[in-house]
């Protein structure tokens, strides 16, 4: 599957075109030892990445909390780099939201991400974080993918730990 996608991307690059949106993708799933209702209080807050993601120092909102179009300005841990993201869908009933990256130091373009929570049979939460994106011209696919994977893994590790029973 990935090989096929890479091939398509390469072909587009060869003809000098920008490649189609969502050529690359990353998906991570983790089980969290708490209910979706509880986890959503933290994850479902579009303005709380500064609470649960170790790379985010500050999150500020431009717009109303969970309205499509609302943007968040994330200041990263170093205090200099920022990411601007925009909410594109928010579904409290399904405990899921989607967003795009408007501006960031990450080597990705056309990024669309979704975070969703689902109940497991034993009352825990299955969190799925998935995205489609491309590498910008001049950056390779592997670097782009690795950047997103690193971002997801560090955030999810902290989230899992937050709800781990002592």
């Amino acid at each position: 599957m990935n090989a096929l996608k890479f091939t398509v991307a390469s072909a587009l690059l060869v003809v000098g075109s920008s490649h189609a949106a969502g050529t690359l993708s990353v998906t991570r799933e983790v089980t969290i030892d708490s209910t979706p209702a509880t986890v959503w209080k933290l994850v479902g807050n579009f303005n709380a990445l500064d609470v649960w993601h170790p790379a985010v120092r500050k999150s500020e909102l431009n717009g109303a909390g969970t309205k499509v179009g609302t943007r968040r300005l994330l200041t990263l841990a170093e205090g200099k780099q920022v990411i601007i993201e925009q909410l594109t869908a928010y579904d409290a009933a399904k405990t899921s939201y989607s967003y795009t990256i408007v501006n960031s130091p990450l080597p990705v373009v056309n990024y669309k991400g979704t975070i969703s929570l689902n109940a497991t049979s034993d009352g825990k939460t299955l969190l799925k974080w998935t995205s489609n994106f491309e590498a910008p011209s001049g950056a390779d696919d592997a670097s782009a993918t690795r950047a997103v994977e690193t971002l997801y893994d560090s955030g999810l590790a902290k989230l899992v730990n937050n709800f781990a029973r002592q």
Binding site: L42, P54, A55, L106, L151, R165
Partner: protein
């Protein structure tokens, strides 16, 4: 700390006189510096129904009615299955503080009133304070105080740990295409 000793003395005198003591004769207070801004820390601890996010002993929190209104009642289920019911007495979003009282508790404590507050500290950090007054029920007062201290310090400890910056990984680079990976790692 001295305050606790004084309160013990007062309670002792009242007991000696055979009187029942005034509500909230005992007290415990603790505070910690948290390495993030009050705005960010308040997102974690400022929701009356968010105790299940940041207190290590609380597995779930549910409320009836609107979240942070005076009179709102929350039911907390603890890890051991026991339940606490608490009522919001005062909520001050601007002052980032709230006060609540216990309606039902598995602990041998009554007249429990507590306040959680966050305020700015040096270097853009946060001072989080949690204080409580209460009475012991058929148990030594120092034991009751110890139980409260464990609960409060347990919560404060997790908040501190959540915002603690891990030490920088060796060879961390912010140059070139590695900048994203470096940003994703903790500093």
């Amino acid at each position: 700390m001295n305050k606790i000793v004084l309160n013990f003395a007062t309670a002792g005198l009242l007991l000696a006189a055979g009187s029942c003591h005034a509500a909230g004769a005992l007290s415990f207070s603790s505070e910690e510096t948290v390495d993030s801004s009050p705005t960010t820390v308040w997102k974690y601890v400022g929701d009356f129904n968010g105790f299940d996010l940041w207190h290590p002993q609380v597995r779930s929190s549910t409320v009836k009615g609107a979240g942070n209104k005076t009179g709102t009642v929350r039911t907390l289920k603890l890890s051991d299955g026991s339940e606490l019911v608490e009522k919001l007495l005062k909520y001050d979003a601007a002052g980032t503080s709230y006060t609540y009282t216990s309606l039902k508790s598995p602990f041998p404590i009554k007249n429990y009133v507590a306040t959680i507050s966050v305020s700015p500290a040096a270097e853009g950090k946060t001072l989080m304070k949690w204080s409580a007054t209460f009475d012991a029920v058929n148990i030594d007062e120092d034991i009751a105080t110890e139980m409260v201290a464990i609960a409060l310090n347990g919560g404060l400890g997790k908040v501190v740990a959540n915002f603690q910056k891990p030490s920088a990984p060796e060879g961390a680079s912010t140059a070139g295409s590695d900048s994203a990976a470096a940003a994703a790692r903790a500093p």
